[in-house]
Subunit: 140 residues, 2 copies
Amino acid sequence: MSDAPALRRVLETALYVEDLAAARAFYVDTLGARVLLDTQRLLALDVSGASVLLLFQRGATSEPLPTPGGVVPPHGASGSQHVAFAIDADALDAWREHLGASGVVIESEVRWPRGGTSLYVRDPAGHSVEFVTPGLWKTY
Amino acid sequence: MSDAPALRRVLETALYVEDLAAARAFYVDTLGARVLLDTQRLLALDVSGASVLLLFQRGATSEPLPTPGGVVPPHGASGSQHVAFAIDADALDAWREHLGASGVVIESEVRWPRGGTSLYVRDPAGHSVEFVTPGLWKTY
Protein backbone atom coordinates (compact mmCIF):
# COMPACT_ATOMS: atom_id res chain seq x y z
CA MET A 1 0.00 0.00 0.00
CA SER A 2 1.17 3.47 -0.79
CA ASP A 3 1.10 6.10 1.95
CA ALA A 4 0.31 8.78 -0.63
CA PRO A 5 -2.36 11.39 0.09
CA ALA A 6 -5.54 10.88 -1.94
CA LEU A 7 -5.88 11.54 -5.64
CA ARG A 8 -9.54 12.39 -6.18
CA ARG A 9 -9.69 11.79 -9.91
CA VAL A 10 -8.10 12.69 -13.22
CA LEU A 11 -9.19 16.31 -13.63
CA GLU A 12 -7.50 17.26 -16.91
CA THR A 13 -6.99 15.09 -19.97
CA ALA A 14 -4.95 16.65 -22.79
CA LEU A 15 -5.07 16.04 -26.52
CA TYR A 16 -2.85 17.78 -29.06
CA VAL A 17 -4.41 18.90 -32.32
CA GLU A 18 -3.39 20.77 -35.46
CA ASP A 19 -6.75 22.47 -35.98
CA LEU A 20 -8.44 23.91 -32.90
CA ALA A 21 -11.48 25.08 -34.89
CA ALA A 22 -12.09 21.56 -36.13
CA ALA A 23 -11.64 20.24 -32.61
CA ARG A 24 -14.17 22.78 -31.34
CA ALA A 25 -16.68 21.78 -33.99
CA PHE A 26 -16.34 18.14 -32.98
CA TYR A 27 -16.16 18.30 -29.18
CA VAL A 28 -18.46 21.28 -28.62
CA ASP A 29 -20.93 21.30 -31.51
CA THR A 30 -21.22 17.54 -32.01
CA LEU A 31 -20.42 16.05 -28.59
CA GLY A 32 -21.89 18.85 -26.49
CA ALA A 33 -18.91 19.69 -24.26
CA ARG A 34 -18.99 23.20 -22.78
CA VAL A 35 -16.28 25.79 -23.48
CA LEU A 36 -14.36 26.98 -20.41
CA LEU A 37 -11.52 28.73 -22.24
CA ASP A 38 -10.83 29.32 -25.92
CA THR A 39 -7.48 30.80 -26.91
CA GLN A 40 -5.02 30.34 -29.75
CA ARG A 41 -3.07 27.99 -27.49
CA LEU A 42 -5.82 26.01 -25.88
CA LEU A 43 -9.45 25.01 -25.92
CA ALA A 44 -10.56 23.91 -22.45
CA LEU A 45 -13.84 22.02 -22.25
CA ASP A 46 -16.03 21.03 -19.36
CA VAL A 47 -17.40 17.49 -19.49
CA SER A 48 -20.49 17.40 -17.31
CA GLY A 49 -18.86 19.22 -14.40
CA ALA A 50 -16.67 16.19 -13.75
CA SER A 51 -13.71 16.40 -16.12
CA VAL A 52 -11.82 19.00 -18.11
CA LEU A 53 -10.69 18.10 -21.62
CA LEU A 54 -7.81 20.24 -22.86
CA LEU A 55 -7.23 20.54 -26.61
CA PHE A 56 -3.81 22.05 -27.13
CA GLN A 57 -2.62 23.57 -30.37
CA ARG A 58 0.24 21.34 -31.43
CA GLY A 59 3.56 23.06 -30.84
CA ALA A 60 2.09 25.87 -28.73
CA THR A 61 3.08 24.32 -25.39
CA SER A 62 6.72 23.50 -26.11
CA GLU A 63 8.10 26.37 -24.03
CA PRO A 64 7.58 27.14 -20.32
CA LEU A 65 4.66 29.56 -19.89
CA PRO A 66 5.24 32.30 -17.31
CA THR A 67 2.09 33.42 -15.46
CA PRO A 68 1.71 35.83 -12.53
CA GLY A 69 1.30 32.82 -10.23
CA GLY A 70 4.18 30.72 -11.52
CA VAL A 71 5.58 28.96 -14.56
CA VAL A 72 3.54 26.30 -16.38
CA PRO A 73 5.99 23.62 -17.55
CA PRO A 74 6.25 22.69 -21.23
CA HIS A 75 4.78 19.58 -22.80
CA GLY A 76 3.64 18.42 -26.23
CA ALA A 77 2.89 15.22 -28.06
CA SER A 78 2.13 13.97 -31.54
CA GLY A 79 0.28 10.99 -32.92
CA SER A 80 -3.11 9.46 -32.37
CA GLN A 81 -4.12 9.51 -28.70
CA HIS A 82 -6.98 7.72 -26.99
CA VAL A 83 -9.70 9.09 -24.74
CA ALA A 84 -12.91 7.46 -23.47
CA PHE A 85 -16.07 9.19 -22.32
CA ALA A 86 -18.45 7.54 -19.88
CA ILE A 87 -22.04 7.44 -21.11
CA ASP A 88 -25.16 5.98 -19.53
CA ALA A 89 -26.15 2.41 -20.38
CA ASP A 90 -29.44 3.58 -21.84
CA ALA A 91 -27.73 6.27 -23.95
CA LEU A 92 -25.90 3.86 -26.25
CA ASP A 93 -28.56 3.85 -28.97
CA ALA A 94 -28.99 7.60 -28.72
CA TRP A 95 -25.24 8.10 -29.15
CA ARG A 96 -25.13 5.74 -32.11
CA GLU A 97 -27.93 7.68 -33.76
CA HIS A 98 -26.53 11.09 -32.84
CA LEU A 99 -23.08 10.28 -34.21
CA GLY A 100 -24.57 8.92 -37.41
CA ALA A 101 -26.81 11.96 -37.85
CA SER A 102 -23.76 14.17 -37.27
CA GLY A 103 -21.79 12.44 -40.00
CA VAL A 104 -19.36 10.81 -37.58
CA VAL A 105 -18.40 7.33 -38.72
CA ILE A 106 -18.42 4.63 -36.05
CA GLU A 107 -15.13 2.86 -36.62
CA SER A 108 -15.84 -0.02 -34.30
CA GLU A 109 -18.16 -1.30 -31.60
CA VAL A 110 -16.94 -3.60 -28.81
CA ARG A 111 -18.88 -5.58 -26.21
CA TRP A 112 -16.74 -6.24 -23.14
CA PRO A 113 -16.59 -9.54 -21.22
CA ARG A 114 -17.46 -7.89 -17.89
CA GLY A 115 -20.26 -5.84 -19.42
CA GLY A 116 -20.41 -2.48 -21.11
CA THR A 117 -20.28 -1.57 -24.77
CA SER A 118 -17.92 0.84 -26.51
CA LEU A 119 -18.41 2.90 -29.65
CA TYR A 120 -15.18 4.12 -31.25
CA VAL A 121 -14.88 7.09 -33.57
CA ARG A 122 -12.08 9.42 -34.72
CA ASP A 123 -11.94 13.09 -33.86
CA PRO A 124 -10.77 15.49 -36.63
CA ALA A 125 -7.15 15.10 -35.46
CA GLY A 126 -7.35 11.31 -35.74
CA HIS A 127 -7.52 10.62 -32.01
CA SER A 128 -9.39 7.47 -31.02
CA VAL A 129 -12.49 8.58 -29.12
CA GLU A 130 -14.54 6.00 -27.22
CA PHE A 131 -18.01 6.20 -25.73
CA VAL A 132 -18.44 3.47 -23.13
CA THR A 133 -21.35 2.32 -21.00
CA PRO A 134 -20.79 1.06 -17.44
CA GLY A 135 -19.22 -2.36 -16.92
CA LEU A 136 -15.89 -2.29 -18.70
CA TRP A 137 -13.91 -1.61 -15.55
CA LYS A 138 -14.65 -2.96 -12.10
CA THR A 139 -14.82 0.56 -10.75
CA TYR A 140 -17.40 1.89 -13.11
CA MET B 1 -26.70 24.18 -27.78
CA SER B 2 -25.87 20.72 -28.93
CA ASP B 3 -28.62 18.09 -28.94
CA ALA B 4 -26.10 15.42 -28.05
CA PRO B 5 -26.90 12.81 -25.40
CA ALA B 6 -25.01 13.32 -22.14
CA LEU B 7 -21.31 12.64 -21.67
CA ARG B 8 -20.92 11.80 -17.99
CA ARG B 9 -17.20 12.40 -17.71
CA VAL B 10 -13.84 11.48 -19.16
CA LEU B 11 -13.48 7.87 -18.04
CA GLU B 12 -10.14 6.89 -19.60
CA THR B 13 -7.05 9.05 -20.00
CA ALA B 14 -4.17 7.47 -21.93
CA LEU B 15 -0.44 8.07 -21.66
CA TYR B 16 2.18 6.31 -23.78
CA VAL B 17 5.38 5.18 -22.09
CA GLU B 18 8.54 3.29 -22.99
CA ASP B 19 8.92 1.61 -19.62
CA LEU B 20 5.78 0.18 -18.04
CA ALA B 21 7.64 -0.98 -14.93
CA ALA B 22 8.88 2.54 -14.28
CA ALA B 23 5.37 3.87 -14.87
CA ARG B 24 4.01 1.36 -12.39
CA ALA B 25 6.56 2.35 -9.78
CA PHE B 26 5.58 5.99 -10.17
CA TYR B 27 1.79 5.83 -10.50
CA VAL B 28 1.14 2.87 -8.21
CA ASP B 29 3.93 2.84 -5.63
CA THR B 30 4.44 6.61 -5.34
CA LEU B 31 1.06 8.11 -6.27
CA GLY B 32 -1.12 5.32 -4.89
CA ALA B 33 -3.24 4.49 -7.93
CA ARG B 34 -4.73 0.98 -7.89
CA VAL B 35 -3.95 -1.64 -10.56
CA LEU B 36 -6.94 -2.83 -12.59
CA LEU B 37 -5.02 -4.58 -15.33
CA ASP B 38 -1.33 -5.20 -15.89
CA THR B 39 -0.21 -6.69 -19.19
CA GLN B 40 2.73 -6.25 -21.54
CA ARG B 41 0.58 -3.90 -23.60
CA LEU B 42 -1.15 -1.90 -20.92
CA LEU B 43 -1.24 -0.88 -17.29
CA ALA B 44 -4.75 0.24 -16.32
CA LEU B 45 -5.05 2.14 -13.05
CA ASP B 46 -8.03 3.15 -10.98
CA VAL B 47 -7.94 6.67 -9.62
CA SER B 48 -10.24 6.80 -6.61
CA GLY B 49 -13.10 4.99 -8.36
CA ALA B 50 -13.65 8.02 -10.59
CA SER B 51 -11.16 7.78 -13.45
CA VAL B 52 -9.11 5.17 -15.25
CA LEU B 53 -5.56 6.04 -16.22
CA LEU B 54 -4.21 3.89 -19.05
CA LEU B 55 -0.46 3.57 -19.49
CA PHE B 56 0.20 2.04 -22.88
CA GLN B 57 3.48 0.49 -23.94
CA ARG B 58 4.65 2.72 -26.76
CA GLY B 59 4.19 0.99 -30.10
CA ALA B 60 2.00 -1.81 -28.72
CA THR B 61 -1.29 -0.24 -29.84
CA SER B 62 -0.43 0.57 -33.45
CA GLU B 63 -2.47 -2.29 -34.90
CA PRO B 64 -6.20 -3.06 -34.52
CA LEU B 65 -6.75 -5.46 -31.62
CA PRO B 66 -9.33 -8.19 -32.28
CA THR B 67 -11.28 -9.30 -29.22
CA PRO B 68 -14.25 -11.70 -28.93
CA GLY B 69 -16.56 -8.68 -28.63
CA GLY B 70 -15.15 -6.57 -31.44
CA VAL B 71 -12.04 -4.83 -32.72
CA VAL B 72 -10.29 -2.18 -30.64
CA PRO B 73 -9.00 0.48 -33.04
CA PRO B 74 -5.32 1.41 -33.18
CA HIS B 75 -3.78 4.51 -31.64
CA GLY B 76 -0.41 5.65 -30.37
CA ALA B 77 1.42 8.86 -29.57
CA SER B 78 4.87 10.09 -28.68
CA GLY B 79 6.17 13.07 -26.81
CA SER B 80 5.50 14.62 -23.44
CA GLN B 81 1.81 14.60 -22.57
CA HIS B 82 -0.01 16.39 -19.78
CA VAL B 83 -2.36 15.05 -17.15
CA ALA B 84 -3.76 16.69 -14.00
CA PHE B 85 -5.02 14.97 -10.87
CA ALA B 86 -7.54 16.64 -8.60
CA ILE B 87 -6.45 16.76 -4.96
CA ASP B 88 -8.15 18.24 -1.91
CA ALA B 89 -7.32 21.80 -0.91
CA ASP B 90 -5.98 20.65 2.44
CA ALA B 91 -3.82 17.95 0.83
CA LEU B 92 -1.43 20.33 -0.93
CA ASP B 93 1.17 20.34 1.84
CA ALA B 94 0.90 16.59 2.27
CA TRP B 95 1.47 16.07 -1.46
CA ARG B 96 4.44 18.44 -1.46
CA GLU B 97 5.98 16.49 1.41
CA HIS B 98 5.10 13.08 -0.01
CA LEU B 99 6.59 13.87 -3.41
CA GLY B 100 9.74 15.23 -1.81
CA ALA B 101 10.10 12.20 0.45
CA SER B 102 9.62 9.98 -2.61
CA GLY B 103 12.43 11.69 -4.48
CA VAL B 104 10.10 13.32 -7.00
CA VAL B 105 11.30 16.81 -7.93
CA ILE B 106 8.62 19.51 -8.01
CA GLU B 107 9.33 21.26 -11.29
CA SER B 108 6.98 24.16 -10.69
CA GLU B 109 4.20 25.46 -8.48
CA VAL B 110 1.48 27.76 -9.82
CA ARG B 111 -1.19 29.76 -7.98
CA TRP B 112 -4.17 30.40 -10.24
CA PRO B 113 -6.09 33.70 -10.48
CA ARG B 114 -9.45 32.05 -9.71
CA GLY B 115 -8.03 30.02 -6.86
CA GLY B 116 -6.36 26.67 -6.64
CA THR B 117 -2.70 25.76 -6.62
CA SER B 118 -0.87 23.32 -8.90
CA LEU B 119 2.23 21.26 -8.28
CA TYR B 120 3.95 20.03 -11.44
CA VAL B 121 6.26 17.04 -11.64
CA ARG B 122 7.53 14.68 -14.38
CA ASP B 123 6.66 11.00 -14.54
CA PRO B 124 9.45 8.60 -15.59
CA ALA B 125 8.41 9.00 -19.25
CA GLY B 126 8.70 12.78 -19.06
CA HIS B 127 4.97 13.47 -19.03
CA SER B 128 3.92 16.64 -17.22
CA VAL B 129 1.90 15.54 -14.19
CA GLU B 130 -0.06 18.14 -12.24
CA PHE B 131 -1.69 17.97 -8.81
CA VAL B 132 -4.28 20.70 -8.48
CA THR B 133 -6.52 21.87 -5.66
CA PRO B 134 -10.07 23.14 -6.36
CA GLY B 135 -10.53 26.54 -7.97
CA LEU B 136 -8.59 26.48 -11.24
CA TRP B 137 -11.69 25.79 -13.34
CA LYS B 138 -15.15 27.14 -12.72
CA THR B 139 -16.52 23.63 -12.60
CA TYR B 140 -14.24 22.27 -9.90
